[in-house]
């Protein structure tokens, strides 16, 4: 390695470190803020706390509302994932395996959902959810969320299913296996990678969703964590340490989940994020 090389590499590392600190500093300030008294936050927002006071984190964790918010988010996210995977894979299987009159058209119809943002239809959606009587239920978030993930899910599933070997189906068919059974017994188990990718994508979207729950959930009993967090922030406007502890405790699971499922998340969020 020449000297020019070395200098360039050092310069590169320095630049990367500067950007990394721009990225990490706000998060670090948040995590540390949860350990400080408000007086200390005021004078020392960025540095380490003089005394590691855990009572603010403790206060959040012993608040049943906090766990209820997380529980609601978890149920809604899992519900959306399961429903999207089953309903989406079933439809994609038909589009991939069976050609019938109008199947092309129906497929294009479903893909229309990729064209426009969720927010365009939010008001009629609110009216519809209200008229069906689903306001303030988990379903009010699960059903529209699933419906809006279907376009992308079906597109990705169909592409994947179409690549599965045709001989497999023909062999199973000769052995008397019908279409529906084949879907359950062979297509789904063979499609684990794409199911995981789409599932992760839907989960993260649902876990972070704010606009839809904000519109269709009014009761604190069914609040998801982003709503609970905003509610909390409104109640403790001046107590930043409590709010920061709350934020930290909610983003921590997301970060752990990200580190664990990194492969699927990066694939699902970048490669698959046709909707941006």
């Amino acid at each position: 390695m020449t000297r020019g090389h070395l200098a360039r590499n050092l310069f590169r590392l320095a630049f990367l470190c500067i950007v990394a600190s721009f990225v990490l500093a706000p998060m670090l300030a948040t995590v540390l803020g949860g350990f400080k008294t408000n007086a200390e936050i005021r004078t020392n927002a960025l540095g380490l706390p003089a005394m590691w006071d855990t009572q603010f984190y403790g206060a959040i964790m012993s608040d049943p509302a906090f766990w209820r918010y997380l529980g609601n988010s978890l149920v809604i996210s899992i519900g959306s994932v399961v429903l999207t995977l089953i309903v989406g894979a079933a439809a994609a299987y038909v589009f991939a395996q069976i050609t019938f009159f109008g199947s092309r058209m129906l497929f294009s119809y479903v893909l229309l959902g990729l064209m426009f943002p969720f927010a365009t239809a939010i008001l009629p959606l609110f009216i519809k959810v209200r008229d069906i009587g689903l306001l303030d239920t988990w379903w009010a978030v699960i059903l529209p969320q699933t419906a809006f993930s279907l376009s992308l899910a079906i597109l990705l599933f169909r592409t994947f299913f179409a690549q599965l070997p045709k001989e497999l189906f023909e062999a199973a068919y000769i052995d008397g296996c019908g279409y529906v059974r084949f879907f359950w017994r062979f297509t789904l188990p063979l499609s684990a990678p794409i199911l995981a990718t789409v599932g992760t994508f839907v989960f993260v979207q649902s876990w972070n969703n704010f606009l839809l729950p904000l519109v269709v959930l009014n009761s604190r009993d069914v609040f998801t964590w982003p709503l609970g967090m905003m509610q909390f922030r409104g109640e403790y406007v001046t107590q930043w340490n409590l709010t920061l502890a709350f934020v930290t405790l909610t983003i921590l699971p997301a970060i752990v989940f990200f580190l664990a499922a990194q492969k699927y998340i990066v694939a699902g969020l970048t490669g698959g994020a046709v909707k941006g």
Binding site: M115, F116, P117, S151, M230, T250, F258, L269, A273
Partner: protein, 307 residues
Amino acid sequence: MTTAAARRMPVSVRMRRAVTNGRVTAVLILLPPALILFTLFVMLPLGESAWYSFFNWNGYGAPSNYVGLENYERILNHSVFHIAVGNTVKIVAISLLIQMPLALLLALLIYKKTPTNAVFRLIFFLPYILAEVAAGLIWSFVFDGNYGVTASIAAGLGLENVFILSDPDWAFAAIMTVIVWKYFGFHMMIYIAALQSVPQDQIEAARIEGARRLQVIRYVQIPSIKPAIVVSAFFAIIGALQVFDVIIPLTNGGPSNQTHTIVTYLYTFGLTRLNIGFGSAVGVILFVGAVTVALFYQRIFMKRAQG
């Protein structure tokens, strides 16, 4: 056996076979749930948006007060809507001029698969996986003039308290900072994936012919990841049309309505005041904007990038 051979059989036989081998059952069982959900919660509300937008309606009872295009007229003449559209354009500009070049530069610095690069990649992608609301809240702490990081810095420099988020001139700049912080990692990941699939021998060939590092980047790497750049710019534009979550904890559209985007405008003036007709009209405008962008973009760039 399902295609060519089957096609030679008479229609009646084909129909009977289709029923017995479960083909019809499969279509009838597996397809409808998706179609019903999609129609009920995506396409129908979209159509209803268009319908409601012609009424002055608070959402109760059936819409009856037909006002024609009045909602659209009011929106297009509303100064706050102009601000919202202007802000959206600003977000697009910042994305294209600052965020994407930054992401590309970082991608070029760390696309090679080494352990150090993996760590940086992870760090830069981290903001993207945070919920927008959480990101907004974190930064509203950073910008808080009394308690936040800005306050500490101002105090350290001996300055007076600065309240960036309640300053009409600076609030939106602060929001754009948060947006760059949140999304540059996403664009970077797209570029990294593309850079990793550029054939190594192309780069080496250029090197052997005497190309310098910058020339390799300029004439080999960037041209070959052009499709990825086109796609990421598309995400930036469509994303700008949808910005909402970040704004709510930061400024909620204020001070004096200076930081609205199209969706916060829709929410504030349509939903919170139960002007369903008015809000629906905003939704329709947003829809037209998004579809126009998508169609034009596809026609102009996507085809060329593929060809």
